[in-house]
């Protein structure tokens, strides 16, 4: 058994936009793939590569399969801080990236498996970081108690920082608590996971007090300030009738947060939701639970162009909410100061001469929909009225602070931004990723180090061979199609704002779903000098991804393979020249990681090796150097 743990300290952190693997593409053919570059194998693990926080997904899926829910939870907690919350609400960029979706119809239900870990774990109190014995004497202020700030707190607290967290609301969580409806995310889950950070005496909270002046805050002599105040302003719709019917026209995110905090408990019978994003979906589904019987979503764009995630649209339609497209709101109609409906102009999508999509009036008569209430969910914006423009932070022409994309530092070196406050509205998992990066920067800044120098990820590459045909991972992929998450009976679900709609996978369904994972982190590692070119791997490969061929420049080589490699976003693994001067080329695109190449290899030229990449957060970066 050839086992080796390698730490690639010399390498750089993976670039989030390109694979960082240089293919010079010289005429003689492709250069051999450099697998010592952590970005190469990282990119093969599509889900982890796509996750902004680079959660090692296959690693925790295997732990769930083994019934080690607590361990699976902690792998998540390390990377994304809010496994139970994200397991219900994540925008899941990992799923469209999942390799399973390319070899079969649908990706692994990664997000819902995360919830299985959270639902079934034991008490994790003992596994959380201990309170530091010694303070390091640095004070950091954090504005806004949402996911970005909480991540910064989690990463910096064990290092001995004195952290002061400000929020206008009385409880921590930010938009997680204020904007996500309870039927998608129960309050206990928020309390638990926010509690792991706030209830351990790591941080001083000043809740219920809104920061009104950055200058005043800076005068309190903090060593650094983190702004994680989100994008709190819902965009309004300034069309005729807006002010006259104001009583029944509500801004979506404000309305949602009033519902969340119990200030609003009812809505009219007929409701129109304007907007096509995830907030609109939350608004319409919430309305159905607060007395709205006839709830419609009306959107300017076409159905496919809507910003909402496909599954959120599905969930809304499943609750009997129709979605109308290509209708632009023109006027709020009202009578005696009371809203009566909305008039829409019909549009069609056309491409202009530059090929850009445009919505042009169709010429058909306007359409009027009657309603009692309107929820406006047409986007949200950042707002920094409380940051004086002369406190060293430069703003751009869109009135957004200038923030470095890698370090999250503003032009005032001691002030950092993250989450929606940095680059506009995204989602929780991005806020977490920002928080990790900002924490690294803050820690470096407070220690007088160069914030531009980022700590490399930790990587391990270890053989999974246990015997001639035995691997320490379950290499036979299941043929099951994606399992559906059980839902609460609709009649019951629609009666209460607090009844969680999705019930989550139980243990056995969760196990079945884990078996669909292809273990993309168990890499096919090839040793060219051991190969005798017997073709056994090529013959057995169930997805025709292995070819022995003369080398050629990449575009040509891609067409010379057993099955053409037409997915250019996926790399080719090219060996050094073999005895016959050919090279081995493996198209990573649809590899099942079943290990049959390695099982049929007579000389051990192929081996299945688990590639584990862990991002280095502020905590580990500082501790490993100490």
């Amino acid at each position: 058994m050839s086992a080796g743990t390698t730490t690639l300290e010399q390498s750089t952190a993976p670039d989030k936009r390109s694979n960082g693997v240089g293919h010079s593409g010289e005429a003689a053919g492709m250069p051999p793939t450099d697998i010592s570059n952590p970005a190469y194998f990282h990119k093969v693990v599509d889900c982890q590569w796509a996750c902004p926080a680079h959660t090692p997904v296959p690693e925790y899926i295997r732990l769930i399969a083994a019934g080690r829910y607590t361990d699976a939870y902690m792998v998540n907690w390390q990377s994304n801080v809010f496994p139970g919350i994200l397991g219900r609400t994540c925008d899941r960029p990992c799923e469209p990236a999942c390799r399973r979706g390319r070899v079969e119809a649908e990706p692994v239900a990664i997000c819902r498996l995360k919830r299985v870990a959270a639902d079934n774990k034991d008490d994790i109190g003992a596994l959380l970081p201990a309170k530091p014995v010694k303070k390091n004497g640095k004070r950091v202020a954090l504005i806004g108690a949402g996911p970005a700030s909480l991540t910064v707190v989690r990463d910096l607290a064990p290092l001995g920082y004195e952290l002061v967290l400000f929020d206008g609301d009385r409880r921590g969580g930010g938009m997680i608590r204020s904007q996500i409806p309870r039927f998608r995310l129960p309050e206990e889950v928020i309390d638990e996971e926010v509690g792991y950070i706030l209830d351990r005496g790591f941080v001083e909270t000043r809740f219920g007090t809104r920061i009104e002046s950055m200058k005043q805050l800076l005068s309190e002599k903090f060593d650094a300030v983190f702004v994680g105040s989100g994008a709190p302003r819902g965009r309004d719709l300034d069309i005729p009738g807006r002010s006259e019917a104001a009583k029944n026209i509500h801004i979506g995110i404000d309305w949602l947060s009033n519902v969340s905090f119990g200030h609003i408990e009812k809505i009219g019978r007929r409701v129109i939701v304007l907007g096509g994003g995830n907030t609109a979906m939350d608004c319409c589904r919430t309305s159905r639970r607060l007395g709205g019987e006839d709830v419609k979503v009306i959107v300017r764009s076409g159905f496919d162009e809507m910003k909402a995630s496909p599954w959120e649209k599905e969930d809304a339609m499943h609750e009997g909410i129709p979605i109308f497209n290509f209708l632009v709101p023109k006027e709020f109609t009202h009578k005696d100061g009371k809203l009566t409906g909305v008039t829409f102009e019909k549009v069609v999508a056309k491409k202009d001469e530059k090929g850009r999509r445009q919505l042009l009036p169709s010429g058909e008569p306007d359409q009027h929909f009657e309603c009692d209430d309107v929820l406006v969910a047409v986007g949200q914006e950042n707002a920094f009225p409380w940051i004086e423009r002369d406190c060293g932070i430069e703003f751009d022409k869109w009135n957004m602070p200038k923030v470095n994309e890698a370090t999250f530092q503003s032009t005032n070196p001691k002030i950092f931004f993250g989450g929606d406050a940095a680059f506009g509205p995204k989602n929780i998992i991005w806020a977490v990723a920002h928080g990790h990066d900002a924490a690294v920067s803050i820690d470096k800044f407070c220690n007088g180090e160069d914030v531009a120098k980022r700590p490399p990820p930790m990587t391990h590459l270890m053989s999974q061979k246990m015997g001639i045909h035995e691997w320490s991972y379950d290499n036979a992929p299941s043929n099951d199609l994606r399992h559906k998450v059980p839902m609460r009976e609709q009649a019951v679900a629609l009666k209460s704002i607090k009844a969680e709609v999705e019930l989550g996978f139980d243990r056995s369904l969760g196990y079945a779903e884990t078996q669909r994972c292809l273990n993309c982190d168990v890499q096919t590692v090839f040793e060219a000098n051991l190969c005798i070119e017997c073709d056994a791997c090529m013959d057995i490969c169930p997805v025709d991804c292995i070819t022995f061929t003369p080398n050629a420049p990449e575009p040509m080589l891609r067409m010379m393979l057993t099955a053409p490699a037409e997915n250019f976003t996926q790399d080719l693994y090219v060996s050094t020249p073999l005895k016959t001067h050919r090279v081995l080329v493996k198209d990573e695109d649809v590899c099942l990681h079943c290990g049959l190449c390695a099982e049929r290899c007579p000389t051990g030229a192929w081996d299945m090796q688990k590639f584990l990449l862990e991002m280095t957060h502020a905590t580990e970066a500082r501790c490993s150097r100490a």
């Binding site: 005798i532 070119e533 013959d539 053409p564 005895k579 079943c594």
Partner: protein
């Protein structure tokens, strides 16, 4: 062998043939041979060839004897007919099956032990009779199942894994087939799938006894330095006489690229064997000169591969015997038992 079954998931863009099948529809059970066995590559070539000529799997009958090679029919075309006979007796069973139903494609899979030792007589006579079949010898020069003794095709002076030299002369299966009258003779190497697939396709289209000697390294007992059937040795000494392109009759033949260096041989079914000549003094339609050619190159220690000999206007056992054109299972009682009048006529003819 492997412990998991080959996953059903396949490449989403696999080409399909005229029957709507992908090459994966031509698979059999997962091989239980040693990892890296040349025989598995030959099985893969057979599957590829059958896929490319759109052969409905149930139209193939695969027959074998005993040995590593004779296990392989299980590992390809799981939807076809198969018969695993006693050691060295596959040719008789194949001949009988072929006489009974001439409409199937017959493929005899054998090894150097099964055909050059215990079955030598059966091999020679089956070829001599011109049975319409593809006879493939998966030739590794060693008795793998009994752990590595020299077989009858091991070259004189070739070394065993333990370092012992072989004192005996080898059987050259290709020469033997030519002497016995095979009308299609080729040699290939399990490590050269491109050549092998074309040869198998051409052999299936051929009418009469088509013989293919395929050198197939035994990864466990005959792939060391000193062996003349190892991957390295065969690659170093491989002299391809031609590059074959098999063109099915239904395809239109476009203009010949290189007259002089390319010859086209049209077989009885209209298929064309386009041969790009690689050896100057090789004429694949002249039996005597081919035998001469092979002996000359054997003496130089070269392993000649490619389509060595083909007789375009070949005939088979059925032609020679003048038997009914229909499979026996398609004959009615009236055909089989024509009545006493017919019997009287026959008897009268013998008086």
């Amino acid at each position: 062998m492997t412990w998991i079954t080959k996953p059903k998931l396949h490449h989403p863009k696999l080409p399909v043939n005229a029957l709507g099948f992908t090459h994966r529809d031509y698979e059999g059970a997962v091989s239980t041979l040693c990892a890296g066995c040349g025989h598995d590559s030959i099985s893969a070539a057979i599957m590829q060839a059958c896929f490319e000529i759109d052969l409905p799997p149930h139209r193939l009958a695969k027959l074998s004897g005993i040995g590593c090679s004779s296990k392989t029919p299980t590992y390809f075309l799981g939807q076809s007919h198969g018969f695993n006979s006693v050691h060295g007796r596959m040719p008789s069973v194949l001949t009988g099956a072929n006489l009974a139903n001439r409409e199937l494609v017959y493929m005899g899979i054998s090894g150097d032990g099964d055909s050059a030792s215990i079955g030598l007589g059966q091999f020679a006579h089956c070829i001599r009779r011109g049975v319409n079949m593809v006879y493939i010898v998966e030739n590794n020069g060693v008795y793998g199942l009994t752990k590595g003794q020299f077989s009858a095709t091991a070259d004189k002076g070739s070394k065993s894994k333990k370092g012992v030299s072989n004192p005996d002369s080898p059987m050259d299966m290709v020469s033997l087939a030519l002497i016995a009258g095979a009308s299609f003779v080729g040699r290939s190497f399990s490590g050269d799938k491109k050549q092998l697939v074309e040869l198998i396709k051409a052999a299936i289209a051929h009418k009469g006894a088509a013989f293919l000697d395929v050198i197939s390294p035994c990864i466990a007992f005959n792939n060391h330095a000193g062996s003349t059937k190892s991957f390295d040795y065969v690659r170093e000494h491989n002299e391809a006489v031609n590059a074959l392109e098999f063109i099915e009759g239904k395809e239109e033949i476009t203009v010949d690229h290189d007259p002089g260096t390319t010859i086209n041989v049209t077989q009885h079914d209209g298929s064309v064997l386009r041969l790009k000549k690689l050896a100057e003094d090789h004429d694949p339609t002249d039996r005597a000169s081919v035998m001469n050619f092979i002996q000359r190159h054997n003496a130089r220690g070269e392993i000649v591969t490619g389509l060595l000999y083909v007789e375009p206007d070949s005939e088979d056992l059925h032609d020679r015997l003048g038997v009914t054109a229909r499979p026996l299972n398609a004959l009615s009682d009236a055909d089989l038992c024509p009545g006493s009048d017919a019997l009287d006529k026959i008897n009268a003819g013998l008086r």
